[in-house]
Symmetry: C2
Subunit: 291 residues, 2 copies
Amino acid sequence: MPTDLSADWVLNIQSRTEATLDRMLPRADFPPQRLHQAMRHAMLGGGKRVRPLLCHATGEMFGAASAALDAAACAVELIHGYSLVHDDLPCMDNDVLRRGKPTCHVAFGEATALLAGDALQSLAFRTLCDAELQISAMRLLADAAGSLGMAGGQSLDLDAVGQSLSLQTLETMHRKKTGALIRAAVLLGAYCGKADDEDIEILSRFAATIGLLFQVVDDILDAEASTEILGKTAGKDAKDNKLTYISLLGLDAARNKAVELGRQAHAGLDHFGQRADRLRFITDYIAKREY
Amino acid sequence: MPTDLSADWVLNIQSRTEATLDRMLPRADFPPQRLHQAMRHAMLGGGKRVRPLLCHATGEMFGAASAALDAAACAVELIHGYSLVHDDLPCMDNDVLRRGKPTCHVAFGEATALLAGDALQSLAFRTLCDAELQISAMRLLADAAGSLGMAGGQSLDLDAVGQSLSLQTLETMHRKKTGALIRAAVLLGAYCGKADDEDIEILSRFAATIGLLFQVVDDILDAEASTEILGKTAGKDAKDNKLTYISLLGLDAARNKAVELGRQAHAGLDHFGQRADRLRFITDYIAKREY
């Protein structure tokens, strides 16, 4: 697939996602207004929409209906969005900038940000109800979000601050913290279409690989890029004494690791032939992103 | 139904709920241990289990299977439990005592309590997947929990602090804040069994009435009972300048209101004859509870 066509597709899915979220989120003038404004602040106005891209790309491979994909993609993005709101709170990362805007609690206060995150999680499951998927899809998202998935990974991350841990421990944390939801994005796309068990298994491994890739690149960007380009506070990991690929491997080895994970991800897609071209494009998009 | 048999039934459902939650919550020694300990701290070791009681009582009226009721009842209780954890956080009610124990953030720190609440919400939806209900049941719980339900009511509560508002505004807040989840408990029970549309409508009105009854009694208890009996800090509403039935109506009128709501709730159950005896018993249990 020519790169410019794929870039158009990315822009198209990003704008579909924005429009679908805009429709699914309660209006800002509907009571409780302040809560709804905070939820909209957290979800609208950009973001890379990596998870919706993965969901759509995978779903399209298996002939999924686009309405179902819109709902599934937004459900995953809502879980991601709620986690960012709670992550940014003072008792967690205490961050004031996200996507170039004040974080939710800076704009709306801590209590409202807490409730907005909570309500976004409820809305994620509400939205998934509209995708007319099986209960197994709901279970997949709930597991990806919960204590054995994303929330569990964040808990491991808390435990790891200031500790000197192994690469294996770091990857266990990331498999949960970011990997579980990225896997859910890919597999929900597959569930929306007609994927068989073998497809699901291959996609699950692919998702695990790009989940790690995403995190390695995140760590590299945090060490290298400016706050202006990132749209969030740069250099924060080192300042917060966080365990990262950089603190563990150094910058050069982390870069090599990213290249190797990108290669593995591509190899994993061979099984699907040209059908997986969009997933290949997203893999490169993740590897080469600058924010 | 003799009162002592109903009291036995209450104890039986309370202990079933405790056992089911114990089984559904990840073990305390399973990683991330600290998160799982915090989740178990929040959910186990008592509580009135009013929502599970309502769910079972309603489900039994319509021949629901007890395994489905266990799952549905625990799903609602998990939503309730997560909301208490987040409510108690310093940025919300800043409370240190709950069910006679230190609140979750006092015992485990704010960050872990935040994540524990988040993961309990995910687990609620995960648990509901096991009830083998229709998607409509999932939608009901998600709506009850979200910005148009419980989280929305809490947001209205934040807005109301220090304001002088009408009885109508207070009831709108409570219909969302506690009423939505109590309604979900009743209706999920009905969904587990074979209730028809008329049943659902009558139950929905009944649930709205006991939701308000529950809140009026809560306000009376906060004003009257001791911290020791309540298991949570008493007299906090007045201290925090909260809008309550007491601040709005005074204690005597609030007591009359409780009697009137109890009468309405009983009248609403006439349609079901003896089948609704357990719901009648729970109504009186809510009206006459001392903590």
